[in-house]
């Protein structure tokens, strides 16, 4: 499954447009990460726990989007965009969406 955030894939042409696909995930931070982050806010530096949270969320959202595209019979997703929003003070949603296409 080819996933790109451009509209076209060089060397290939879009044969069929399958439609908009999206994948999302809601992840909560756990207490351990919050406490570590609280300490880090004292001394500054990178909050690795939160960074991992974001990375895992993106990967999960992308794989769900790819699964939806595969279910539609597509072999690529183009024009991928991300969107996040905080749901409660303890969780945030990460969504990836794009256009599923058949390319050859």
């Amino acid at each position: 499954m080819l996933i790109v955030n451009t509209e076209t894939i060089p060397g290939k042409s879009v044969v069929e447009l399958k439609g908009l696909v999206q994948g999302n995930t809601v992840r909560a931070k756990n207490i351990g990460r919050d406490i570590a982050a609280g300490f880090k806010n004292m001394v500054g530096g990178e909050l690795k726990g939160y960074t991992e949270l974001l990375t895992e969320s993106r990967r999960e959202a992308l794989s769900r989007m790819a699964a939806q595209a595969e279910a539609l019979g597509a072999n690529a997703v183009v024009n991928v965009r991300f969107s996040t929003s905080a749901i409660t003070s303890g969780a945030s949603e990460m969504m990836a969406y794009g256009t599923a296409v058949v390319v050859e």
């Binding site: 790109v4 806010n41 001394v43 909050l47």
Partner: protein, 162 residues
């Protein structure tokens, strides 16, 4: 009299030590991070990054391309946050937080470049940089929730320029 002086000393001295500790460690970690950023940027200088959707050479390239991403969450230390709280009284630019966001952005871009290099690509196009709202609870003091985090997410399409 002595007792009162001691109490006064503790009331001023302890927070000052706390802030000073935060300032010192924060200063060390910022300079260390700057040096690490500089070193890694020099190492990944050959990966070309652009926010153009169709840079020259892209449409004629081999077709090997893939989405790459990078993210970074940076926090500032307690001293800088306290000074920022004071700045909120008079307003104006907080150069420290501007620098913090700058470092987070450079870190996110570097991670994206490293992922592209791992995939065997040497150029990235259509780079998008976003912030995220992850509702940080980290510095909650009762109900007050001040987010001292700079969250930066970068994404782009990595491709191989012949």
């Amino acid at each position: 009299m002595d007792d009162q002086l001691l109490t006064l000393g503790l009331y001023i001295g302890l927070p000052a030590i706390f802030l000073g500790f935060g300032w010192f460690i924060g200063y060390l970690s910022e300079t260390r991070h700057e040096r690490s950023l500089q070193k890694r940027e020099d190492a990944l200088k050959d990966v070309e990054v652009t926010d153009m959707r169709n840079p020259p050479g892209f449409s004629d390239s081999s077709g090997q391309c893939m989405l790459v991403t990078g993210e970074a969450v940076m926090a500032s230390d307690v001293f800088k946050t306290w000074v920022f709280g004071l700045k909120n009284v008079v307003g104006g630019e907080s150069k420290t937080f501007t620098r913090l966001f700058g470092r987070a952005r450079r870190e996110a871009l570097l991670r994206m470049k490293a992922q592209a290099k791992e995939l065997g690509c040497n150029a990235i196009c259509n780079v998008r940089i976003e912030g995220a709202d992850i509702g940080g609870n980290a510095s909650g003091k009762g109900g007050k929730r001040v987010s001292n985090m700079a969250v930066v997410m970068a994404s782009g399409t990595a491709w191989l320029r012949a």
